[in-house]
Symmetry: C2
Subunit: 248 residues, 2 copies
């Protein structure tokens, strides 16, 4: 017996529920960060490791486009790469992330080198890029739907950082404020696409599993960060506080 | 200017030095395990997560063979798969690991399902399998050279577990005692192959980087285990103490 798919409303609610229970806004590291309880070392560790995620996003989107046969879908998707990479001379999420790096006292060249990134960060982020390259199309698209939950955490973050940390300014937080307008555009299209194209129960299960997988990736990044820099047991070769500082 | 390769002796010493500084016998989780300081829950968490590594090893070796054009090298490598998978009815490292699972009070079917494995464990182990499939041949081979350092940790482990834990018997620890004879056979061949075939400085660097990568994988598994079950912050969906217990 083949199971009937759920209605779009119920399927949508199922996806939202994954965010409600597993999105990384629930992770203790974010509570700590947004409440102002992180040391500058911990903020720097977050910026260095999260850089690897940021820098991989346009590769993830290129991996998606590399296996996407529908030119119209590729045309729509392409703006994601432009949003993150920016133009030849200026702009883009990656450059904005390096402004944040500078703002927290790190040498942006050191951060961009990826030298201090923990292996656990690489393993999780690389798993995401490969998933998007190799999984069925609907799962590859659904894995990006954590962006449904992103504006709320970005708002919390902007508010929390501005309140608690001297490094927080409109310029250093530009990455997050920019995402407030970019993410909804992407997610409106992709959510609609997934809701419409997941026409079987198996498609819906695959989309839900993909979104769950993506929440696992984001959670694993913060678990590694906590173990490395809150518990204080960073693995061999990873960034140590004091390395990669900006000489002013 | 092309750098000259180091002599075999110096290259060999360089590889050994990676083990001396980065192999997971230095990880606090192993100290805790071997000293008898792990709770039964922590031992179970280790057995469940390390299962994913054990179960992936024959896939890793098949991935190696899938890209290895030299039939003689494939013929030699094949015994690794047989060592782990065993025969149709009996034998093999995977079945021996499930004996350990049973010995520590876990339902072997639950362990074999991989249900409770942490995402961070999957990310690290999957990265290893892909590395061996995709990296240059010499790097793929060198990544297995952590086995140079394995007999010492297996001996420590057998001694430590027998001394401190009621579950430890010749039968439950058969996986480790068997590896004492299997690993040296594999490593003698592979180390020799790498020492002989790394004829340029670039080859030697690639082999050293591959071995370092592999120590990162093993270290990340224990960091995740520590965060999840010693600190006690297992990620959403991972095994919780009490799940998957053997009904006697």
């Amino acid at each position: 017996m083949t199971l009937q798919p759920a209605s779009r409303e119920i399927f949508h609610a199922r996806l939202r529920q994954i965010g409600a229970t597993r999105y990384h806004d629930k992770h203790p590291f974010h509570h700590r960060l947004h409440k102002g309880d992180c040391t500058l070392d911990q903020v720097q560790a977050w910026v260095i490791n999260r850089w690897y995620y940021q820098a991989s996003i346009p590769m993830k989107d290129a991996a998606f486009m590399s296996r996407c046969t529908d030119p119209q879908l590729r045309r729509i998707w392409r703006s994601r790469i432009a949003d993150h990479d920016g133009d030849l001379e200026a702009g883009g999420g990656i450059r904005r992330w390096l402004k944040l790096a500078q703002g927290v006292g790190l040498d942006p060249d050191y951060v961009a080198s990826g030298q201090g990134v923990m292996p656990a960060t690489r393993f999780a982020v690389d798993a995401y890029v490969r998933f998007v390259r190799d999984a069925p199309l609907i799962a590859a698209m659904a894995s990006s739907l954590t962006e449904m939950f992103a504006p709320a955490i970005h708002e919390q973050r902007i508010r929390g950082l501005l309140e608690h940390y001297a490094f927080a300014t409109d310029e250093t937080l530009a990455y997050f404020s920019q995402r407030l307008s970019e993410a909804p555009k992407d997610v409106t299209f992709t959510l609609d696409w997934v809701l419409v194209h997941a026409t079987t129960a198996a498609d819906q299960d695959a989309a839900a599993a993909a979104l769950t997988f993506k929440t696992d990736v984001l959670w694993a990044l913060l678990d590694a960060l906590w173990h490395g820099y809150v518990t204080g047991d960073a693995p061999p070769g990873a960034w140590q506080p004091g390395q990669g500082q900006l000489i002013r």
